[in-house]
């Protein structure tokens, strides 16, 4: 049971990270209007939102399995309060903060988008930092961080995210 929670906490963490990257990329492509022939199709935004929500769901599963893994040394307090973990405090802290940022981005959009567009934007843009923290968290506290495949995965995912960011920044002027 505990063993499986351990395996699941690793896999859900990895999948959550990949979903974050996917959502980020999809969002960047959308806002830089790199969406193919049709500019900004609805379904594109819909998928971006879906991926973001799914990332949050998998982050939730990640937290749940970490918590259920009695060997992890991480309880509810450590999940929600930064700097309370006794082991790897900083690595865990990055994850906690990233979770808050992602949750904020999701829940300022769903079920209803915030009226205050300016603040909505600030929250949304902060997910870039949140993603960076999620990467840091993965690298510092991931059980597989010493594995080549995992490092390769991180590099590829980070490359994709950076590509999206670069694309968005390059089109900053003509975007809304």
């Amino acid at each position: 049971m505990t063993q499986w929670m351990y395996y699941l906490s690793r896999s859900t963490g990895i999948v959550a990270l990949l979903l974050i990257v996917a959502s980020l990329l999809w969002g960047f492509l959308f806002s830089s209007r790199a969406t193919g022939k049709r500019l900004r199709p609805n379904w594109w935004l819909d998928l971006h939102n879906w991926l973001g929500g799914l990332a949050l769901v998998f982050t939730g599963l990640h937290l749940a399995t970490v918590w259920l893994n009695s060997d992890s040394g991480i309880g509810l307090v450590q999940i929600f309060v930064p700097q309370t973990a006794t082991f790897n405090a900083w690595a865990i802290t990055w994850g906690v903060i990233a979770t808050y940022v992602m949750a904020a981005a999701v829940f300022t959009t769903w079920p209803r988008r915030w009226k205050n567009r300016r603040w909505w934007r600030v929250v949304h843009v902060s997910t870039v930092a949140g993603t960076a923290l999620a990467f840091l968290h993965s690298y510092q506290s991931g059980s597989d961080a010493s594995q080549t495949w995992f490092q390769a995965l991180l590099v590829v995912a980070a490359g994709i995210a950076t590509y999206g960011l670069g694309l968005r920044l390059s089109t900053l002027r003509r975007a809304d």
């Binding site: 505990t2 009695s70 060997d71 082991f87």
Partner: protein, 271 residues
Amino acid sequence: MNGSVASVPVESDQGGAHHVEYVMGMAVSIDIRDADPPASAVADVVSWLHHVDATFSTYIDDSPISRLGRGELDIADASDEIVGVLRLCEQIRVETDGAFDAFVVPAPNGTTLDPSGLVKGWSIERAATMLEQAGCANFCINAGGDIALRGHPTQDTSWRVGIRHPESTHELATVVTAFGPLAVATSATYERGAHIIDPRTGQPTTDLASATVVGPDLTIADAYATAMFVMGLDGLDWIAAHPDYDAYMITRDARATWTPGFDRYRPDASR
């Protein structure tokens, strides 16, 4: 467990006697360096250890200690051994302000009576006394890391006891160098999953990777090591007030700290 299965006399070319016995869920190494130890000495110790296992094992459902915990055995009917051990536990609980407590932490048998944190050291200390009474003067008994030393390994050399490094299987954290009589006990969780529960809170302790206590009596050293592990670094001040006992602690972030008196066991480490 039947001793015949896991009872191994180890051949020795230096005289003396060397025996490894699997009992109480661990390997107990009895290493006698005297030239001509009496033949019965080791056998007596081995049967004593099996007797202790049968009496105090919390893994055995019908051991006296399990029955006592379930209320099937009245304390008035318990053997003097059991009463004596529980008294010791109680004394040390008071002394350690609850950091050592044999009465509250869940045991494998489903009760919350578990004097294991003291019984191992107590039984080995008694075994050492038995060997002394049988005429042995130089020996080392190591019961899964709880160690009773007497005399010296060879003429003019002192015993050297390695203290495990909590993370690296290749290394030792330090070495305790001393002549007997001396007791060395280490309380540790080397696996991340293994916890020692703080009896005062019911929560797993988190500060330390290991706590080693060195002193004259293994019964006390064993219980103190458990208490030290629970107290964390605060325990250093506590044990420093006991002139005969010293502690060496390794924190979870792999830093070592020790009482000033511990330095006397590390002649080669002092700089």
